[in-house]
């Protein structure tokens, strides 16, 4: 109950008051990680049953594809050039895909509501106007390309490229992948018209490319976390704590 204890309590209080990431951001982040991985695995399983892509409304094995993925298929009707057929995994894959989609949509709505009303987007994701000048953007890109270690204040905020990448993922990729997913639902198609996307098969093709983009984002994101200090960044996203509190000043 003397000095040492008091300081301890003070520093703990400081951490409780302002963690690096708000509790809601941390919880929604990891829920999204889990559901995204489930969506990815089940999505790849579903893709394997027809690894061909088309543009427009219709496409099947009698149609010339836009492109094909050179992998074996889980259906004997698909000409793949491989002499074998993979086992059918679509039953549980489809169940898991839609269950995870519900979780990601619910989590996303919670996060977006918090982002708007709690000031998270304005404070942490909206880039400062001055950072958007070509010169400042150029400097940031050059720093990233040199794999320069982030400055210490970056442990407490996002740089401009990070902000832009997160905004694209949150406000472009996720809405587009949900929309194109719903556009493939025969019952829902009347409400989420796939026509504006160029047709049912176009929606499926866009769904695939947005997935590919998100996978690239995920790989770069994890690489950046590793480069910036894996343990510290992971701790910041799990418990909210950052180890070198003196760097905060």
């Amino acid at each position: 109950m003397h000095n040492a204890g008091a300081i301890d309590t003070l520093s703990q209080m400081a951490e409780t008051i302002s963690p690096r990431h708000a509790l809601l951001v941390r919880v929604t982040h990891w829920l999204t990680v889990l559901s995204f991985l489930a969506l990815l695995v089940s999505g790849v399983e579903i893709l394997i049953s027809h690894p061909r892509f088309y543009w427009g409304e219709t496409g099947n094995v009698n149609t010339r594809p836009l492109f094909t993925i050179p992998i074996p298929s889980s259906r004997s009707i698909v000409p793949t050039g491989y002499g074998y057929v993979l086992p059918d995994q679509n039953g549980w894959s489809r169940y898991l895909h839609f269950q995870s989609a519900w979780i990601v949509v619910g989590t996303g709505l919670l996060y977006v509501a918090f982002g708007f009303f709690g000031g998270h987007f304005r404070r942490n994701l909206l880039p400062a106007r001055s950072d958007l000048s070509p010169k400042r953007l150029g400097i940031s890109i050059a720093q990233h390309l040199r794999f320069a270690r982030p400055s210490s204040e970056e442990a407490w905020s996002y740089n401009v490229l990070q902000r832009l990448a997160y905004l694209v993922v949150i406000f472009l990729c996720f809405p587009l992948i949900i929309w194109t997913g719903l556009a493939m639902s025969p019952a829902f198609e009347s409400l989420a018209p796939s026509a504006v996307l160029g047709g049912h098969q176009s929606a499926r093709t866009i769904h695939f490319f947005v997935t590919a983009f998100l996978v690239v984002f995920l790989l770069i994101h994890v690489l950046m976390v590793v480069l910036a200090g894996f343990r510290n960044r992971m701790r910041a996203m799990i418990s909210g704590r950052v180890t070198e509190p003196q760097e905060r000043v």
């Binding site: 049953s49 489809r94 025969p186 019952a187 026509a195």
Partner: protein, 254 residues
């Protein structure tokens, strides 16, 4: 660590109680309004129930997209089926003159119709897409009797909730709820692209459910059973070895 205050404990307790009773009420209401699918058990039950309930609330009366004549696929794909047996070949060699669609279950007037009788009923034609759960699609013009017409003819009892349809292939049976069965685009189809429904595409009779995926569109149907529960059919999951019993969702609107 903060110590939990008495107020926090009470608030949390009240919130949890409200949440649990809210869920219980929601489940009860969902059951009453037919928002729970037969495959609602298991780890994927919650997601499946949400999907089915949400689509029933949002799309109960919406129409599947209809297309123009020029959009009909020149290259429709007929999914290969298990070999059709001798019995089917006998029907086929007689041009399906003896093929009958038996209707039984919770109806006032059990009946059986020949293909010719079905063709004499008011017909509906629509140009719609059929999509496989694998991801491929084609568009065709389908002609048939609205299932709702047949159900009105035989006098469906008010307690009925599902229509089970069976094929000459015992493994291929499935079922839909009344909302789908009474939907104006749901057909017992006998024609495709202006001609007879070809055998590879399900002729003489195919259940055509344009708001659900291809696997609900069972080929070679010969029996409809109206029922209030699906428990007594197969494993009670609502469809056979080509559907729920093979791990596929009963509701295929997505």
């Amino acid at each position: 660590m903060n110590k939990l205050s008495r107020r926090q404990i009470i608030t949390t307790g009240l919130a949890a109680a409200a949440g649990i009773s809210g869920l219980a009420v929601a489940a009860k209401l969902a059951g009453r309004y037919g928002l729970i699918p037969p495959d609602s058990g298991g780890i994927y039950g919650p997601g499946e129930t949400l999907t089915y309930a949400a689509q029933r609330v949002l799309t109960r009366h919406t129409l599947a997209r209809e297309f123009s004549q020029s959009q009909i696929s020149k290259d429709p794909f007929a999914y290969p089926v298990d070999p059709l047996g001798e019995e089917f070949q006998r029907f086929q060699s007689a041009a399906f003159a003896d093929w009958r669609l038996v209707v039984d279950g919770m109806i006032a007037r059990p009946a059986s119709f020949s293909v010719a009788e079905l063709k004499s009923f008011p017909a509906r034609t629509h140009i719609t897409m059929i999509g496989c759960e694998e991801g491929w699609t084609y568009i065709a013009e389908w002609t048939g009797v609205p299932l709702s017409h047949i159900l009105e003819l035989v006098g469906t009892l008010p307690r009925a909730r599902y229509v089970v349809y069976r094929s000459i292939q015992p493994e291929a049976w499935d079922s839909i709820d009344m909302a789908e069965a009474m939907h104006p685009q749901t057909l017992v189809s006998y024609g495709m692209n202006g001609g007879e429904l070809p055998v590879p595409f399900g002729g003489p009779l195919r259940m055509r459910v344009p708001r659900q995926l291809g696997y609900k569109n069972v080929k070679y149907i010969n029996r409809l059973t109206v029922t209030d529960k699906l428990k007594q059919f197969g494993k009670g999951l609502g469809s056979g070895e080509l559907g729920a019993e093979d791990g596929y969702a009963w509701y295929a609107g997505i």
